[in-house]
């Protein structure tokens, strides 16, 4: 079989990898993105969803702060439907170092980050959920960002310029000849099939997996894997992002996303890049810290906990956790290790993914003798859904359903609305928590990029809401039972669905979520006897 060809193979379907794919494609460089799971199955979907203003980094790293601010403004412009312009707050409590506030203010000013002091009395009126003891509060341009949507928008944009994507393919070999990369060997994670791609260059943008990928080329690359646990509340606790005004630490950021709030995080060094199990103890620690800012925190309903692994890089340093820079490093292995055609991009944070991609592709282009400039900051990532289509959507899915679907589906919204107009049967809302229609589920199931139930779940958000799949897991079995790849074995389908949800619910199993879990258990065991199902 003739091997497929591309100039560049990008490994890793996170924010950076998809950003690189888009940048390459926009410069006319032929590229393939390879991802071992679904897009964003790693750290790019396991974070706060905070688009930093840079204020958090201003004191420690002005360069990083400035980059954050610039990228924040760019992403708002090129991807408005992925960003919710919430604005952010930094609040200080009496026990925090008062001098730090002044130091922070000066650093923000120096980095060009606009700040505005808010009278604590006004803060109490606007955001009564925060502790009345807040001494100082400042407004900064933080935003909430949907990582998953940004990634798919990157890929869809890149595809318009001929880029290709292989999800569920892991890199199992790197071929080299005379000190030059010549190709990659991939293994399909679902079928076990092997695939070879001839290429001139490999870009390793695999985050926490960076060391493992470099090792395939016989190169040592030291990545510190730092696990952070987060929780999702079933409420929009505040309308703005809330940061604690003190040196960055655990449990000091709340980010509102639609009707929920994500709160985190912790910092624990782990050995395994796939270690995404949130711990009950970590969650309790988080809440304890969070109560200093929001005293009533324990009484709000939690939906679930999750964890992501930050890839931290510091050449020649073995320190870990928060002392390591959040900045990124571009490693040119031609210079460092004498292997031509191999580049690693490590460290960094979601907010600056586009810039990281730009720097990486600048180097790649230089090596490939391509002179086209970066255009990713100018060209829009997505085109917003038109008012006319939104109106038509509202008529078939209702107002909240249409709005949510338009945000999730972006460019595909039109097609889903058309289907629902033609088939009234498909207007039924299957996931009531996230307002997902049958039409949307059917569309995603058939979009060519969905291979597992998890893919459908991530794209539609079905099962992600308050009931955590109790009702929609069974309903979607009915909807998808015609697709053997998703629901060939009904027991397996339901077990997987429920078990995935359970992993996130267990660390927050009290209050209303324990009640919900008892209902779920009553339905699947008491009513359906699923524990003994064949």
């Amino acid at each position: 079989m003739a091997a497929e060809k591309a100039q560049v193979v990008v490994i890793g379907g996170g924010a950076t990898g998809t950003g690189i794919l888009r940048d390459l494609a926009l410069r006319g460089i032929s590229a393939i993105l390879v991802e071992q799971g679904d897009l964003a199955h790693g750290t790019s979907s396991r974070f706060h969803g905070l688009l930093h203003s840079g204020a958090r980094y201003a004191v420690k790293d002005k360069e990083a702060a400035r980059e954050c601010l610039e990228e924040n403004m760019i992403l708002r412009r090129i991807a408005p439907n992925c960003v919710e312009n919430t604005g952010g707050l930094f609040v200080q409590l009496p026990e925090d170092n008062a001098e730090y506030a002044d130091q922070w203010l000066a650093a923000c000013a120096e980095s060009g980050i606009p700040t505005e002091e808010l009278d604590p009395r006004e803060l109490r009126r606007n955001t009564p959920v925060l502790h009345h003891r807040v001494t100082r509060a400042f407004i900064v341009p933080d935003c909430a960002v949907d990582g998953f949507r940004v990634l798919w928008s990157n890929v869809n944009s890149a595809r318009r310029y001929g880029a290709r994507l292989y999800t569920y393919h892991s890199l199992t070999g790197i071929q080299q000849s005379n000190g030059k990369v010549t190709g990659v060997e991939l293994t399909n994670q679902l079928t076990g099939e092997r695939k070879y791609i001839e290429c001139e260059m490999i870009i390793n943008s695999t985050g926490a997996w960076g060391g493992a990928v470099a090792a395939l080329a016989g190169i040592e690359l030291n990545i510190i894997k730092d696990k952070g646990t987060l929780v999702a509340y079933n409420h929009r606790l505040t309308n703005q992002v809330v940061n604690r005004l003190r040196p960055p630490g655990d449990g000091d950021i709340f980010v509102p996303h639609g009707t929920i709030t994500i709160f985190g995080t912790t910092s624990v060094t782990v050995n395994d890049a796939a270690c995404t199990k949130p711990g009950h103890g970590e969650v309790l620690d988080l809440i304890k810290i969070g109560q200093e800012m929001i005293p009533d925190l324990e009484n709000y309903r939690l939906i679930r906990a999750f964890a992501g692994v930050r890839p931290l890089y510091q050449a020649g340093n073995t320190a870990g956790g928060r002392s390591v820079t959040r900045n990124f490093a571009l490693v040119d292995h031609q210079e460092r290790d004498g292997l031509q055609g191999f580049i690693s991009i490590v460290g960094g944070k979601f907010t600056t993914f586009r810039l990281m991609a730009e720097k990486t592709v600048d180097l790649a282009a230089k090596r490939l003798d391509v002179t086209a400039p970066c255009r990713t900051a100018e060209e829009s990532l997505t085109s917003p859904v038109s008012e006319q289509w939104l109106e038509r959507g509202k008529r078939v899915f209702g107002i909240p359903g249409a709005k949510k679907a338009a945000d999730r589906l972006g460019d595909s919204f039109q097609r889903v609305v058309e289907e629902a107009e033609k088939n009234p049967d498909q207007r039924k809302i299957f996931c009531e928590c996230e307002v997902v229609s049958l039409a949307e589920i059917v569309h995603v199931a058939g979009d060519g990029d969905s291979f597992t139930l998890g893919d459908i779940r991530r794209k539609t958000r079905m099962g992600m809401g308050t009931c955590q799949g109790t009702f929609c897991s069974y309903r979607t079995l009915g909807a998808l039972s015609g697709y053997s790849q998703f629901a060939g074995n009904h027991r397996e389908y339901l077990t997987k669905f429920l078990q995935k949800r359970w992993k996130g619910i267990r660390p927050v199993l009290w209050g209303q979520q324990l009640r919900e879990a008892q209902l779920s258990s009553a339905i699947y065991c008491s009513l359906f006897g699923m524990e003994r199902m064949l």
Partner: protein, 421 residues
């Protein structure tokens, strides 16, 4: 402030509370039942499960649950059945009698049925509403499963696919499915059940199914065949189609559990029990080991209720009888100690055959259903605990939720009825 005085105060309108009230009033007590919500009975299958599987072989269905419960009582004295097994047979008779009086017919064959569910699994259960009493599937030659296009909670193809895996069907059994189209809009189970009580709508259903009916056919429906009691949708369908028609258990909302709840509430009202729904007990006055009375908030009105005896039938977490925080579980009304497994509230495997430990959390009681502290001392002499409030029962795995509720509610009613004589 409104004041009320009664012989017996029942708190909770689930199966155990309804049974306690029914039995107490049958013994000529003045009974007041208050409940915050409608109780979890309406969420249940509508069948009375006593005990599903053999104690020694938990993957094998037990045919005679009464005999199995007798074994359980000696194996596991902390199980709620150990406190109420003495009244189990008479509680069943009492229940059947009430059902009969209130035009809701339940069948008792003195053994476990194995009834198909909407998922195509079989669930073992003991007392079965007539509308759900599917005969032995091994004997059925023609099986038709009917769904409704407008109802997103029932899928005939899913039922049939799994039924073939989960039960031995007759060698020549033909399985068919059919989707009835009624309206373009989405209908939930209750709305659909309400519509099916209208003759014109039912005629539409019949005309779509009729051409597919064969002699001797068994037709399975989602549990939506009529909302009100006395509307015999199942019978009409059966007669007009000329075949046997049944409902199968499904996720809520489902009508059989709701109908049972309605029938029992109707019974209480005809017997003179005062029932106040939407009434939450907020405080209890306790002196020594007796509860003198409670304060309740009934839709904003504050009431002081005094009673000789009280039955706590507020359920587990789902019913709201137990509340939890990250490190603590409380009984919601009296603040009674809750028996828990510290540090082990759940298991990693959601569908574990060992069951989730949190289902077993509840109040420990003696044979008189009085609440005990961890030393085994009675905490409140005139408060009796029933149903899912009781510790030691893992109903989702054991298939005994309604059975425990039935027997413990009955026993509490019997005990309070005897009190003060």
């Amino acid at each position: 402030m409104m004041k009320k005085n009664t012989d017996v105060l029942v708190i909770g309108a689930g199966l155990s509370g309804l049974m306690a009230a029914a039995k107490a009033v049958a013994q000529h007590k003045k009974v007041l039942l208050v409940a915050k919500g409608m109780g979890a009975l309406g969420l249940s299958s509508g069948c009375i499960d006593l005990w599903g599987y053999q104690i020694n072989q938990p993957d094998k269905v037990c045919t005679n649950p009464l005999a199995e419960i007798a074994k359980l009582v000696s194996h596991k004295p902390e199980h709620p059945y150990a406190k109420v097994a003495d009244v189990l047979p008479e509680s069943i008779d009492f229940f059947l009698q009430i059902c009969h009086q209130n035009k809701i017919s339940y069948l008792n064959t003195n053994r476990n049925w194995q009834l198909p569910t909407a998922l195509g699994t079989l669930r073992p259960t003991y007392l079965v509403p007539q509308s759900m009493a599917v005969p032995d599937l091994a004997e059925v030659k023609e099986l038709l499963v009917v769904g409704f296009q407008a109802l997103k909670d029932f899928y005939p193809d899913v039922l049939i696919t799994n039924l073939q895996k989960n039960t031995p069907l007759g060698a020549h059994c033909h399985l068919k499915t059919l989707m009835v189209k009624l309206a373009n809009q989405e209908l939930n189970a209750n709305t659909l059940a309400h519509l099916l009580e209208k003759q014109a709508m039912l005629e539409q259903v019949i005309s779509q199914i009729k051409p597919h009916v064969l002699p001797g056919m068994v037709v399975l429906f989602p549990p939506v065949l009529g909302e009100q009691l006395g509307h015999e949708v199942t019978e009409v369908l059966s007669e007009k189609l000329g075949c046997s028609v049944y409902e199968v258990a499904n996720i809520p909302p489902a009508l059989p559990g709701q109908r049972l709840q309605k029938a029992l509430l109707h019974h209480l009202k005809t017997q003179g029990v005062e029932v106040i729904i939407g009434c939450q007990v907020t405080d209890a006055q306790i002196t020594e080991k007796r509860c003198q009375g409670v304060v309740a908030n009934s839709n904003g009105k504050i009431m002081e209720i005094s009673a000789q005896t009280m039955v706590l039938a507020t359920g587990s977490f789902l019913g709201g009888g137990l509340t939890s925080q990250s490190n603590e579980i409380k009984e919601a009304v009296f603040g009674l100690p809750v028996k828990v497994c510290p540090g082990k509230w759940s298991r990693q495997d959601f569908l574990s055959l060992a069951g989730q430990p949190f289902h077993e959390f509840g109040v420990a009681v003696n044979d008189q259903l009085q609440p005990l502290d961890d030393q085994g001392q009675v905490l409140l002499e005139n408060v009796l605990i029933t149903g899912a409030n009781l510790a030691g029962c893992n109903y989702p795995i054991e298939k005994c939720g309604n059975g425990v509720a039935l027997a413990s509610g009955y026993k509490a009613g019997k005990l309070v009825g005897e009190a003060g004589r």
